[in-house]
């Protein structure tokens, strides 16, 4: 995380709290609890599907595991809006959703992938093929692949962010394999035989690959258990937003704005388009990027309107930011409502085109005008929405907070 937006403006505003803030943040916490709870439920389904797959590898069991992964992404992506405003989430999320990754750390890769890079000496380490190896001069015993090995030793090894050993995208790579279709249609196509132990094993070390996949999924489940608990009654994340509703409102808006602009519009969408690089897809192995973008956008919408549809179809809803804003500035509330609706519609167009067969990697191809138009319209909508969110911050902010610094009063302190 680069920076949190601090509470802003306010010089011209009276320092009074808005009625209803406490109800709004309580509903926000309820939505978070439901979303992380759903993510956990779906991760457990994924774990069961993966156990069935590695016990009896076949096209059918592999397809079932992939379907479970795709379903697991639906609630999780809607949770991303909770990241930026809540340090407890942001400090944790790298374990479960880090991206992009140098997948050669984990398993075999195609020759075009290359080897170690300036940035990452471990880019082609291939843990599955190598029971022992060195990281930063230290010999690592990886003869048994455990959740601890993945989480504590391999993840972000050598302080390189692209060394993603855990989470959804590591599992995605182990299920789908590299997408070698470039900007043509098609996802990764890993054969189920990569998990056949003994005769018929492809890709080598099939037993270790199964160990890795199982360990990574168990770790995902336990990481999600942790986060779901943080939002349950008495959980630290819930208590933090309830304790100071005004700060909670700022956290909600910060999450919406930071995800909209710097993260989704910039890093995930515009950069990939301008590089024409299908590896810049967020869910690049599975070609599920249209959904990950869509559900990110829907998550922002959820927080604004104070509603979330759970994976079993039940509705969580209550007092919303939209209600607060309507009381404070009805015109602005209408503008922000229109902006988030528009973004969801634009992201929905990408999803619709992708599901009809025009996949996200095809949209990224250099000179593909229809793809560029689809993606840039959504980027523009996200940027426009960010401006309305900034206005909402100004309208709902009750704190005067001048950004300070430890060294402010004593500039020479840094030399001591």
């Amino acid at each position: 995380m680069k920076r949190m937006m601090t509470a802003m403006i306010a010089a011209a505003l009276p320092a009074t709290a808005f009625a209803g803030e406490a109800e709004v943040v309580a509903n926000y916490a309820d939505i978070a609890e439901a979303i992380y709870g759903d993510s956990l439920i779906k991760a457990k389904h994924l774990d069961a599907a993966i156990e069935a797959f590695v016990a009896a590898p076949s096209d059918q069991t592999l397809t079932a595991a992939k379907s479970a992964w795709l379903a697991a992404r639906v609630p999780y992506q809607q949770s991303e809006v909770f990241r930026f405003g809540n340090p407890i989430v942001d400090d944790w999320e790298g374990k479960v959703n880090a991206w992009p990754l140098d997948e050669g750390l984990i398993d075999y890769v195609d020759a075009v992938y290359g080897g170690a890079t300036d940035e990452n000496p471990l880019a082609a380490l291939n843990v599955i093929a190598n029971p022992t190896f060195e990281i930063s001069g230290e010999t690592i015993d990886a003869s048994v692949i455990t959740p601890e090995l993945l989480g504590e030793t391999l993840h972000e090894a050598d302080e390189v962010e692209a060394n993603v050993a855990t989470g959804y995208h590591a599992i995605e790579f182990l299920l789908w394999g590299q997408d070698l279709n470039g900007t043509d249609h098609g996802a990764g196509n890993r054969p189920y035989t990569d998990y056949v132990v003994g005769e018929g094993c492809t890709g080598g070390a099939c037993d270790r690959r199964a160990q890795y996949l199982t360990a990574a999924t168990k770790l995902l489940v336990s990481d999600l258990e942790y986060m779901a608990a943080q939002w349950a009654d008495g959980g630290e994340a819930r208590e933090t937003v309830l304790a100071d509703p005004s700060a909670g409102i700022t956290a909600m808006l910060t999450g919406m704005g930071s995800l909209s602009y710097g993260e989704q519009a910039g890093e995930r969408m515009k950069l990939g388009l301008m590089l024409n690089d299908p590896e810049e897809e967020h869910d690049c192995f599975s070609d599920n990027t249209h959904n990950s973008h869509y559900y990110d956008g829907l998550g922002i919408h959820n927080v604004y309107v104070g509603q979330y549809v759970r994976v079993d179809g039940t509705l969580v809803s209550g007092e919303s930011l939209q209600d607060l804003l309507e009381a404070a500035d009805p015109a602005l509330a209408a503008d922000l409502t229109a902006a988030v609706d528009h973004t969801v519609a634009e992201l929905g167009q990408i999803k619709a085109a992708a599901e009809a067969g025009f996949s996200y990697d095809q949209m990224l191809e250099a000179g593909n005008e229809a793809g560029e138009e689809l993606i840039m319209s959504a980027v523009d909508a996200l940027v426009a929405q960010t401006r309305e969110i900034e206005r909402a911050v100004a309208a709902l902010s009750t704190e005067i907070e001048v950004e300070g610094s430890d060294s402010l009063d004593n500039p020479d302190a840094v030399f001591q």
Binding site: R3, M5, P100, V402, V414
Partner: protein
């Protein structure tokens, strides 16, 4: 009419006759906006346009590295006076990424250049096609590889690489000119900022929003210098990363920090309604520390003592930010909004 009014208000402020009248916050914001837009942003886009045109001419005259390097440095210098204005025509069509794609975390630039050269990709002969090409093939950082990296810099006039260098230069010239025109023409982005809600197609609904947008650029540019230009090469004490320094191949890493600080200082002055003594002192001290590094490519990041000195420049940027919040932001009634570096 608005500009005349702003000018009158400025005159009034300076006149002892009106010394008693307190300007309103809106008047203060209007004056700051006028200064920042006309005296900071407009010269910045014009300088970059001029320097990029010189780069185009230089590449046409002699495309070989030794001949091109001075024009490359001049264009990069001018870009450092503009790159913090991540808005309007600079952001339009992803130009900021096309002009300066950094950091290139996955090594896309050398891979893409090598592939284009091996295939003799005909896109270099098609200006429009080139403007649609991957940003890994375009801009100042692609040019830096071609002019300074041993893998690429050994080519002759008339070679494919020469044509590629000319295509990159022409593309930069085209973008710089488009930014200049779209910023400075009547009804251009300068008017979008100045007229705010009364502009033809408003982006900022009030002059306060325009001021806030510029103030956000000021803050985020300094944060970027600390987190990226300094943070990437220094890494951690155990694991410094000198080859993650910005533009280290052309030994511009320190220079870019200095030029960015100078650009930020100028913007802070133009935005500030009054004196900014603490901000000035902090800039002066930070610039002196940066100049004293004597480490053009930040290779010193690998040495613990020299690494510490680079790190201290970053810590001083925090001091600058604190003073800017008090001396610039608070007196304008604004603080920073969302920026492109939010996220990860």
């Amino acid at each position: 009419m608005r500009f005349t009014l702003a000018a009158l208000l400025t005159t009034a402020m300076c006149s002892p006759l009106f010394a008693q009248s307190e300007p309103s916050l809106a008047e203060i914001q209007a004056r700051s906006l006028e200064r920042a837009v006309m005296e900071h942003t407009v010269p910045a886009v014009e300088r970059f346009d001029d320097a990029a045109r010189d780069l185009v001419l230089a590449s046409a005259a002699d495309c070989t590295p030794a001949a091109m390097q001075p024009a490359y440095h001049a264009a990069f210098d001018a870009w450092m006076g503009l790159q913090h204005l991540h808005m309007g025509p600079v952001e339009e069509n992803g130009r900021i990424l096309a002009i300066a794609f950094w950091p290139d975390k996955k090594g896309m630039i050398p891979r893409t250049l090598a592939r284009a050269i091996a295939d003799e990709d005909a896109v270099v002969n098609d200006a429009e096609g080139f403007s649609d090409a991957s940003i890994a093939l375009r801009g100042l950082f692609a040019l830096e590889y071609m002019l300074f990296d041993p893998q690429f810099d050994d080519y002759d006039a008339g070679s494919y690489s020469c044509a590629l260098v000319q295509a990159i230069s022409n593309d930069l010239g085209r973008m710089a000119h488009a930014i200049d025109m779209e910023w400075t023409e009547d009804g251009g982005f300068k008017d979008t900022l100045l007229l705010a809600g009364e502009a033809e197609s408003p982006i900022y609904l009030s002059q306060m929003e325009s001021v806030q947008a510029l103030y956000t650029m000021l803050n985020s540019s300094l944060e970027n210098t600390k987190d990226q230009r300094i943070g990437r090469p220094i890494g951690t004490f155990e694991r410094p990363r000198p080859t993650r320094a910005e533009a280290y191949r052309s030994a511009r890493s320190e220079r870019n920090v200095i030029l960015q600080l100078e650009a930020a200082r100028d913007l802070a002055h133009k935005l500030a309604p009054g004196e900014t003594p603490k901000t000035d002192d902090a800039f002066e001290q930070t610039l002196a520390l940066a100049e004293a590094l004597d480490d053009p490519d930040f290779s010193g990041a690998a040495d613990p003592m020299r690494r510490l000195k680079i790190e201290i420049v970053g810590q001083n940027i925090d001091t600058i930010l604190g003073h800017i919040a008090n001396e610039v932001g608070a007196s304008l009634g604004v603080s920073a909004g969302f920026n492109a570096s939010d996220g990860d």
